[in-house]
């Protein structure tokens, strides 16, 4: 009963958020809707017992990625419909009928592909019995420290690379005359 409610709420939040991301024309709003969608995904994780992943989703996405996106939106001029000094359209560029038509076409094709792949799954897994939810933290920790130790260590290198790379890219640069 409650499980289904939680699932439904999360699903509605996820899909509604995603749909709103598609629909809205305001970049800042679409970031907020993305937050809602990701929040819903966290709920979906929680529904199938992936409690640690749900929390990670909250920490990394709600706290991290969305804030980063919001900052990036601000750094590139907010979401006002300004025209910059070169006369270029500065922001928006949120698509028009033509691009949405193309996107719709692609989406149809993609959904054909995915539906074809998923058809068998939908047929065979119609009635699954939910296994009991278990605490995942210890298991995940054990996996990370044993089987996936290499991935764990390499991810630190990946993060280091991302940190250094992004810092170098976005660092303010001195102009020539100084």
């Amino acid at each position: 009963m409650f499980t289904n409610t939680l699932f439904l709420l999360s699903a509605v939040l996820t899909l509604g958020g995603a749909a709103a991301v598609v629909y809205t024309k305001n970049l800042m709003h679409s970031c907020v809707y993305l937050l809602a969608s990701l929040f819903g995904v966290a709920g979906l994780y929680a529904c199938i017992g992936a409690d640690f992943l749900a929390a990670t989703q909250l920490v990394v996405y709600a706290g991290g990625v969305v804030i980063l996106m919001l900052f990036a939106v601000m750094l590139t001029g907010g979401s006002g419909n300004n025209i910059n000094r070169y006369g270029l359209e500065k922001i928006t560029a949120m698509g028009n009928t033509k691009t949405f038509f193309m996107a719709g076409l692609t989406a149809v094709v993609t959904s054909l592909v995915i539906l074809k792949i998923l058809a068998s799954v939908f047929k065979s897994h119609s009635a699954t019995v939910l296994t009991a939810n278990e605490a995942t933290v210890d298991k995940l920790g054990t996996l990370l420290a044993t089987d996936h130790i290499l991935a764990f260590e390499i991810s630190s290198v990946l993060l280091l690379g991302a940190l250094v790379g992004a810092a170098v890219i976005s660092r303010p640069r001195k102009e020539k005359h100084d």
Partner: protein, 101 residues
């Protein structure tokens, strides 16, 4: 109500939304939003399959690293966007079509 099918359907919808956002938007940041949606859809798939097939946690690990990579990707991607904006005063994707200057 909670079944593999419903999870796959949700992740399918998320994925399609991501595709649409990625192609329809001409704003680089908005495209990155689409990429986040796509990555989330795939991560959700991994967890769902893990739950409904053998219930070992490999899918969780995979999703965990997808999240890690998504974060790194967002950091670097947005860094590039900001740098590009500093150079061009634009975050229109088609302004990024030239290879030089």
């Amino acid at each position: 109500m909670i079944s593999l099918g419903s999870y796959l359907a949700i992740s399918f919808a998320l994925f399609i939304s991501g595709i649409i956002v990625m192609i329809a938007r001409k704003n680089i940041i908005a495209m990155l939003l689409g990429i986040e949606l796509i990555l989330n859809a795939s991560a959700l798939n991994f967890v769902a399959y893990t739950k409904f097939s053998n219930n070992n946690l490999d899918g969780h690990i995979m999703s965990l690293f997808i999240i890690v990579i998504a974060a790194a990707e967002a950091a670097v991607g947005l860094g590039i966007v900001i740098r590009f904006f500093q150079l061009r005063e634009s975050i229109h994707i088609d302004d990024a079509a030239t290879l030089q200057n």
